[in-house]
């Protein structure tokens, strides 16, 4: 009763909390909606198979679930035989996917699905596609292609495969994408099976059949029906979804933390403003627990209301966000917004929870209000620093300093996280310790004006800020956070961008590479044509680890005679440690064709990115993985070939690496921009709120000043210059809090790349963050002051 009534009456005090929750839940709802909308749906290419049996997924070295463990051809044949025996199964079809790409005028026809565009003709029965012309492939030199290629039946078509280019006769066309070869040809091109489709006549009991299939496959895989079949999709789609999820996921996490922070700050302020009323409640018999429940109840109600509005905002904003992700090319093709209940319910739960969490501190300080405060005349300013604030501020500051050193000396993988951790600590410490910092800074900054000016302005600003440091700190804190985050994010991106070219130049100087152009990789033919240079053939190897189950690792087929003996493998120290083996031991791996082979560990060498961590002979890899493609061939510039095979391009290695990096950087830039906007927007909200609360709390002060002869203009100037000064102080503190982390990153990168890396700040972002906070804060302050001084007719 009390909580709800308080919100009705003091809605102004809860407005900022409400808005923070609306924005936070809006962003989180958008994330959930996009995640839900982007969940895999059955691809048309396998949609006509009611049951898909897939093998289990292995985990990678970090523990993330990745590639499916392939069945060997004989294991697969055995499964097919058993599935065929299930009542109601009309056909059992092994689905094969391999690299196939049309060439026109000796150039590969661009196709992002090329890596898995080749299939066996029987796979077409799994699809919703039908023949539109001609007939099925009957000979191994015949192929059915999608009509989207625009090649009529009967024509000859050069098709790039992993071993090189071949000319096929188009025996027919189909209304879907892809290249459908004879099943025999497909089995040669993709050995090893991860997906088997079951066709059943219409009206058959699909779930019964799936259950039977599931029990046949046992622990080695699962039988999927309905929407669950969506996981069978080309890798490039999975990758795009992953990128998009990372982008909006980071934004949602940022929104989550900032919402908690803003809610905590605004509610803490709202509580200090009503100490007297809380004192009254304590006097007439409320115990601290009840006060606490009241504050938390208020937060829960505001959180719930804000969540509902936030969900609506999220529903409206989702299409726009999808469009911008589409522009970045990080959404699965044909994505559309689907609104279902769970994203909205989850966002509401998160929003309400976040509000209650943010109210935690406020509720504790409210519960500590003594009943006698109901009798005190004015809400006197508390001590600038409570003991808890001192302890927390110094502890976090110490942690930040330790982390800053660790950032500088730590290894590359941990550095980014350490840098972010350092900044978060220092920013929090700056916000907590702001009251003690503000005093000397204000004294210093206003001293020249106070001495010289004859007006009241400078004297008042100085006195107000020096004597209400806690209020001043609550204005400066959000600015510290916003500017800190803006500087950190943009600074990290820029500093790393400076470091990367330096490192690349050093490593790749004087090298060229042959790159496949529009194709996903170079064929064996292209590799044979260029016998000089590094031509790694990457493959995936599966190792059964006793404690962690099936694990997938990157294997590299090398043509370097030093480590390409059949039956042997060369490991680097990291991999040897991971697999717990030493030189001379035997590792048993499962290849992409599903065959299990023991390999002798010939050598264990220090890590070298150019060599790889698990090196095999190129021929061994090709023997077991017909789908593998060489990414590119590196060589010294003077060894560059005069003639290149179809589609391949000769590139300056350095140039190429930078271009690749810039593609990634575009994504990072977008992420950085989104995060900065969120951070600045939130802090603007928090500053506006604390200005507003402070302004209303100072009603009597203003009345006194007015009666002492201050004009409305003078008081407005006072409020605005006070706020402006605080925003500037907050900006400087935010900047200072971020520099140690950036310096740590720069010095770590310097050591690693062996080049001079200095901290780079993005001036634009910094200016934008400071000006944004300044405009929002002064506008709020001016509005509130004007509103408070307005003559009232009551």
């Amino acid at each position: 009763m009390l909580a709800a009534a308080n919100i009705r009456e003091h809605w102004r005090a809860f407005l900022a909390t409400f808005l923070a929750v609306v924005v936070g839940v809006g962003l989180i709802a958008v994330t959930f909606i996009l995640y839900d909308s982007g969940r895999p749906r059955p691809q048309p290419r396998v949609a006509d198979a009611p049951v898909l049996v897939v093998s289990n997924q292995a985990v990678d070295q970090t523990g993330a679930v990745r590639d499916r463990v392939p069945w060997s051809e004989s294991e697969a044949a055995d499964l097919v035989r058993q599935f065929d025996g299930i009542d109601g199964v009309e056909a059992t079809i092994i689905d094969r996917n391999f690299y196939a790409q049309a060439f026109a005028n000796d150039e590969p026809v661009a196709d992002e699905a090329a890596m898995e565009a080749g299939h066996g003709w029987s796979s077409a029965r799994l699809a919703t596609y039908r023949l539109t012309a001609g007939r099925a492939p009957q000979a191994d030199n015949e192929v059915v292609v999608g009509t989207d290629l625009g090649v009529p039946a009967g024509s000859a078509l050069p098709i790039g495969l992993t071993d090189g280019m071949h000319t096929y006769t188009v025996s027919g066309t189909t209304d879907g994408h892809g290249f459908y070869f004879t099943d025999a040809e497909a089995a040669r091109r993709d050995t090893g099976v991860t997906t088997i489709g079951l066709l059943v006549p219409r009206g058959s009991p699909v779930s019964d059949i799936a259950d039977r299939a599931g029990s046949i496959v046992g622990d080695a895989g699962s039988a999927l029906t309905g929407d669950a079949r969506g996981v069978v999709e080309p890798g490039y789609i999975t990758h795009k979804r992953f990128l998009g999820a990372q982008l909006i996921g980071a934004m949602a996490v940022m929104a989550l933390f900032t919402t908690i922070f803003v809610v905590a700050a605004t509610l803490a302020l709202a509580t200090t403003q009503r100490r007297r009323e809380i004192g009254l409640l304590r006097t007439i018999g409320a115990d601290p627990r009840q006060i606490r429940r009241m504050v938390l109840g208020e937060a829960a109600i505001v959180g719930l209301l804000g969540s509902v509005v936030g969900c609506l905002a999220g529903i409206f904003a989702a299409p726009a966000m999808l469009a911008s992700l589409d522009r970045l090319d990080v959404t699965p093709p044909d994505s559309r917004i689907i609104i279902s209940a769970w994203p909205l319910l989850a966002s509401t739960a998160v929003g309400t929870g976040v509000a209650v969490l943010g109210a935690w501190v406020a509720s504790r300080s409210a519960a500590r209000v003594a009943p006698i405060e109901a009798l005190l005349d004015a809400a006197t300013e508390q001590r600038p620093m409570s003991r808890g604030r001192w302890i927390a501020g110094l502890a976090i500051l110490g942690l930040g300093v330790v982390l800053a050193f660790m950032t500088a000396v730590g290894d590359a993988d941990g550095r980014l996280n350490l840098a972010i951790g350092t900044s978060v600590c220092l920013i929090a410490a700056a916000a907590l310790l702001a009251p003690i910092v503000i005093r000397p800074v204000v004294r210093l900054a206003t001293a020249p004006f106070a001495r010289r000016s004859s007006g009241a302005g400078a004297m008042l600003v100085r006195a107000e800020l020096l004597n209400a440091t806690r209020r001043a700190a609550s204005t400066a804190a959000p600015v510290i956070v916003a500017v800190g985050f803006a500087v950190l994010i943009s600074g990290l991106v820029d500093t790393m961008r400076m470091a990367y070219p330096a490192e690349t130049t050093k490593q790749l100087a004087g090298q060229v590479l042959i790159d496949p152009g529009n194709a996903p990789g170079l064929s064996d033919a292209a590799v044979t044509q260029n016998p000089v240079g590094r031509a790694a053939l990457p493959t995936r190897l599966f190792v059964a680890r006793p404690d962690a189950g099936d694990t997938v690792i990157d294997g590299v087929g090398s043509r370097d005679p030093r480590w390409s003996r059949p039956g042997e493998a060369v490991l680097d120290t990291t991999m040897a440690k991971f697999l717990k083996v030493q030189a001379g031991a035997t590792v048993t791996v499962r290849f992409a064709d599903g065959l299990i082979t023991p390999l002798r560990v010939a050598q264990v060498l220090p890590p070298d990115q150019a060599r790889g961590s698990f090196v095999l002979s190129r021929d061994t890899v090709r023997e077991h993985d017909p789908t593998a493609l060489t990414d590119n061939i590196f060589m010294a510039a003077d060894q560059a070939p005069a003639h290149l095979s179809a589609g391949a391009r000769l590139q300056n290695a350095e140039q190429f690496a930078l271009e690749e990096y810039n593609t990634d950087a575009k994504l990072t830039d977008n992420l950085a921009m989104m995060l900065t906007v969120v951070a600045v927007g939130y802090s603007g909200l928090a500053v506006a709120n604390s200005m507003a609360m402070a302004g209303y709390g100072r009603r009597t002060d203003f009345a006194v000043m007015k009666s002492a002869g201050g004009t409305r203009r003078q008081l407005l100037d006072l409020a605005v210059s006070e706020t402006g000064l605080l925003v500037l102080i907050g900006s400087v503190l935010g900047l200072l809090a971020t520099l140690p982390a950036l310096a740590g990153v720069a010095s770590g990168l310097s050591a690693e790349t062996g080049t001079q890396v200095t901290v780079h700040l993005n001036g634009g972002t910094l200016t934008w963050a400071v000006l944004g906070s300044l405009v929002m804060a002064t506008a709020a302050s001016a509005f509130v002051t004007w509103n408070v001084m307005r003559p009232r007719n009551r």
Partner: protein, 237 residues
């Protein structure tokens, strides 16, 4: 009872050996110049503050040894409060304000009981109004109704008419007097207004943390306010 405050490095003797009893059913006014310790006495007696030394009994129970939890329950169940201003929760209606102590105690308020309490202070018609829709005197009467809803042993009033004009002051004071006469409501009132004090049975004068004087009032005496004022003037001199 002693009460010592620490103000900076200085020790301030707010109450310096005060020993006093307030019999059931009496109306006592506490007066004194500012800084005399009258508010401290009231706050200690009402369990809002703890004495540095000494004991306080409310309805037979020693409250000086109570912890904050017990004192919360004491304030809720045994003591009713009326202050100078800001007496009501702005967001609640008059009726909700009155039932608040019952709700804090975890009792379901009886609507008739609340209406009766408001009628007793002449506000039976205004149960649904918010404080902002009530005059200062009406607000103070709602506060009185709330203070009495738990049938407290002691009613504590700190400058209850300090923010009211003469006419509404008189209404509120008459109401207090009526409660003492009809329901034997033990009442303690701190005031600096001789007219307000004249409604009491006894006036206690404090100076420098000690009881300086005590004045028994005769209900039939018409010149009470001027006698009290004269006494105050002597103390402040």
């Amino acid at each position: 009872m002693h009460k010592v405050y620490q103000r900076g490095t200085q020790e301030v003797q707010a109450l310096d050996g005060v020993s006093i009893g307030f019999p059931t059913g009496t109306f006592t006014a506490i007066m004194g110049p500012s800084g005399s310790g009258k508010s401290t006495l009231l706050q200690c007696a009402a369990g809002l503050d703890e004495p540095s030394a000494g004991q306080i009994f409310v309805a037979g129970a020693d409250i000086s040894g109570m912890d904050e939890r017990q004192r919360t329950a004491l304030r809720r169940d045994r003591i009713g409060f009326v202050f100078q201003a800001f007496n009501l929760v702005a967001s609640l209606t008059a009726a909700q304000n009155v039932e608040l102590p019952l709700r804090f105690a975890g009792r379901r308020p009886d609507r008739a009981e609340v209406t009766r309490a408001l009628s007793a202070v002449g506000l039976g018609e205004r149960t649904g109004h918010r404080p902002s829709e009530l005059s200062g005197g009406q607000q103070q009467r709602v506060a009185l109704a709330r203070a009495l809803i738990t049938r407290p042993d002691v009613l504590v009033a700190d400058e209850p008419t300090g923010a009211l004009d003469t006419k509404t002051s008189r209404e509120v004071l008459s109401l207090l007097r009526l409660l003492v006469d009809q329901q034997s409501q033990t009442t303690l009132m701190v005031t600096h207004d001789p007219v307000a004090a004249s409604y009491a049975d006894v006036v206690i004068f404090l100076k420098d943390g000690r009881i300086a004087d005590r004045l028994e009032l005769d209900p039939t005496d018409g010149s009470k306010p001027s006698r009290i004022a004269a006494q105050m003037a002597r103390l402040e001199a």
